[in-house]
């Protein structure tokens, strides 16, 4: 007895093939596609990445607040006996800033330490040249400038030097 073949016309119509582009029928692949995605970089918090900058910024903010407070109090009490203590109060947050700065430098790797050293050399030399130059000009009649300009000048030249020497190693 031979097995009778089913009539192809009697088989149920597979909707997947009859409507391949139909937006109403969901077509799914037999095996899920596997795509090798690049592993995302390890997450680093803002605190870890910019710790030194945040600490430095907060210390500078504290310094400015104490400085403004000190100047305000001194202007209101010019003859007070405790004015010397108030006048040197901004030194405390300035010392904190210095400590944070030194700690940040000690955490740097050897190339960045070298860049900072070159930048400090640039800053020191540049400040020496500018202050001596202006000192000679003061001798022939240029207006006298306060010593308090020296530190901002050093800071600006240090920043410029750091940018220059960082570019050098790029």
């Amino acid at each position: 007895m031979s097995e009778q073949k089913p009539n192809p016309d009697d088989t149920p119509i597979e909707p997947l093939y009859t409507h391949p582009a139909s937006p109403f029928l969901r077509t799914e692949s037999t095996a899920p596609a596997r795509v090798d995605m690049p592993t995302p970089p390890a997450f680093q918090s803002t605190w870890v990445t910019y710790r030194a900058q945040i600490e430095f910024g907060l210390a500078m903010l504290a310094y400015l607040m104490v400085l403004v407070g000190s100047v305000t109090v001194l202007q209101a009490n010019p003859g007070a006996s405790w004015r010397y203590v108030v006048a040197v109060l901004p030194v405390a947050p300035a010392a904190l800033t210095l400590w944070i700065f030194i700690r940040a430098i000690s955490r740097m790797d050897e190339l960045h330490k070298r860049i900072q050293m070159q930048a400090f050399g640039f800053s020191l030399g540049g400040t020496a040249l500018l202050t001596f130059g202006y000192g000679f000009l003061e001798g022939v009649g240029m207006p006298h400038l306060s010593w308090t300009f020296i530190l901002p000048l050093m800071a600006i030249l240090w920043g410029v030097g750091a940018a220059i020497f960082t570019m050098r190693y790029r």
Binding site: P41, E110, L111, H112, R114, Y169
Partner: protein, 75 residues
């Protein structure tokens, strides 16, 4: 000083950031060493050599000074 750092790094398919993390330095430092703009300190050179399981002289090569070469030639 010439070095084979970029080649060795490519062999193990590490990025500059990967190597920097292993060496405990910044990516900029790795780049400066690879481009020959910065010569690493001896401790860092040893760390690099250990990372790639090589000897230092297999990674770093200093061109021989002219004075030394002529002295050796005379000997």
């Amino acid at each position: 000083m010439r070095n084979r750092l970029r080649v060795l790094r490519a062999e193990v398919d590490w990025s500059q950031a990967d190597l920097a993390e292993r060496l405990g330095v910044s990516r900029q430092t790795v780049n400066a060493i690879e481009t020959g703009k910065y010569d690493p300190s001896l401790p860092l050179a040893f760390t690099i050599a250990r990372t790639f399981n090589r000897r230092i002289e297999e990674i770093f090569d200093s061109p021989q000074p002219a004075g030394l070469a002529s002295t050796r030639a005379r000997l």
